[in-house]
Amino acid sequence: MLSTIVQNLLNALQWGSFYALIALGYSLVYGVLLLINFAHGDVFMVGAYIGFFVATFLLTQAAGLPGWVVLAVTIPATMALTAVVGVTLERVAYRPLRRKGANRLYVVITALMAGLILEHGNLALLGASRKKFPELINEVVYTVGGVSFTNLKIAVILAAFAVFVLLHFIVTRTKIGMAMRAISYDKFAVPLMGIPIDTVIVFTFILGSSMAGLAGVLFAMSYPVLEPYMGALIGWKAFIAAVVGGIGDIRGAFVGGFLLGAVEILVVAFFPSTFRDLIAFTVLLVILSFKPTGLFGVAKTTKI
């Protein structure tokens, strides 16, 4: 009995880690820009592909490199390149609209279109065939007291927690984090402090997209089949997780992500798996109807 609970908990944490890592990007960008970056799920997809290409490149160009070395290079390289994608998106799609003072509706539509462009750009460039992510480390299964887990699963969970600690530190302790919080409170007064708003926005996109890139690699290692639409549904779910947690607050992104992971795993444990999304979304809907601002949300004062 206890082992079943621990097993499900572990599964929930691993599954929730992906949501949490993606939800974070929605939350940070929303906190700073009040923009729902609907392209973010597709940035995660692009991250997985970047990871695929980096890893494959390393494996073919430097054959004989041990898998863990390839992984150790792939992760930071993917995070950096995915950050470039996120920042480019900001430059090309969102900044011009911001300069013109466009209505938020147009910005949201632009975000949706940017996501579709990423999906279909991928489809056009790489074709419809799926890609198989190479195996970089040997997945080892451990069994302790009836609970079985793999080294990869533990790594995913640890990565999510490490990211949380890092981001929490950045947002609460560093000057740029302070600037992010200040923007979410009152954008008008930020340049008066000698702070270039665009720098803070770019930094926010770097954080969000690099974490989506990390999630992309970890996801591709755990479920090694890549296809252009892989970011769509998981992106929507991560967005909902961010809202349920309280969008604009990084604690909310993590709590929402893990909560969604837990609900899904629990549903699958007791119901046919086709019920999963139906029940999961219903639970989230109920939570929101009781607390429309999300678990960590405050009516409208501070975000992030």
Partner: protein
């Protein structure tokens, strides 16, 4: 001349708010801009700070010069960094979700490695001892007067040489008003140039060296403050008799 505003015409969308305003501020001076509600005082300060629309207006004609050079193309954060002009905005606009200390620290964003920061912090705490007492408090929870002190303190932490103040006495009890102006006087004696916008004309004219009277987007009177104080028009319209 440190700051020269020349024939400035600005618009919010298609609404013209200033119709050709000219004035100057010299280094070390205290200059005040007085006028009734809607005269264009805030508009003038926002234009000088180069803040972007829609909250601030767009310059349609005229020029704003700092030390002889036009600053119309300068970014708002560079007005603070490069020109060392800081605005204490109308309504304070402090970051309520940050602590007092964080508000002050954030203002030093562009001063990495500047040894003057420590001295400036000490100066702010000396001018406004209440801020020291409340430094770990979320600034939202400060009283209105304390928030105003924080807004001034924050501007000083940017390392500014020119202070633009938009109604710093607004909503302050008389004692605090007096305290605020005493602090401003000390700052000016230490070399900070001040451009002060006030609705409280009597107070502003007593404090400043020179003044300009703004009426619906135009300068209608100007001169040394003692002249303005004895000007019959100004007396009748702004000093209540």
């Amino acid at each position: 001349m440190l700051l020269e505003i020349e024939n400035l015409v600005v618009r919010y969308g298609s609404i013209e708010a200033l119709h050709g305003v000219s004035f100057t501020v010299d280094e070390g001076e205290v200059v005040t801009l007085i006028g009734a509600n809607g005269a264009g005082k805030t508009t003038t300060l926002l234009s000088i700070c180069r803040l972007p629309p829609p909250e601030a207006p767009r310059v349609a004609e005229g020029d704003i010069r700092f030390a002889g050079r036009s600053i119309l193309a300068v970014e708002p954060h560079d007005v603070v960094r490069a020109l060392k002009m800081a605005l204490v905005p109308e309504g304070r606009r402090i970051f309520g979700n940050l602590t007092v200390e964080e508000n002050l620290e954030l203002a030093t964003y562009a001063r990495r490695g500047d040894p003057g920061v420590v001295k400036d912090l000490e100066r702010v705490f000396q001018l406004f001892p209440r801020l020291r007492e409340r430094r770990r408090q979320r600034s939202e929870s400060l009283s209105g007067g304390e928030q105003q002190m924080l807004a001034v303190g924050r501007a000083l932490m940017t390392g500014c040489r020119v202070l633009l103040l938009d109604e710093p006495s607004m909503g302050l009890a008389p004692v605090l008003k007096y305290e605020m102006f005493r602090a401003l006087k000390r700052l000016n004696q230490e070399g900070v140039t001040i451009l002060l916008v006030e609705q409280n004309a009597a107070l502003a004219l007593k404090f400043a060296h020179r003044g300009y009277v703004l009426d619906t987007g135009r300068i209608v009177a100007e001169g040394p403050t003692d002249h303005l104080l004895s000007n019959e028009e100004v007396k009748r319209a702004y000093l209540g008799g």
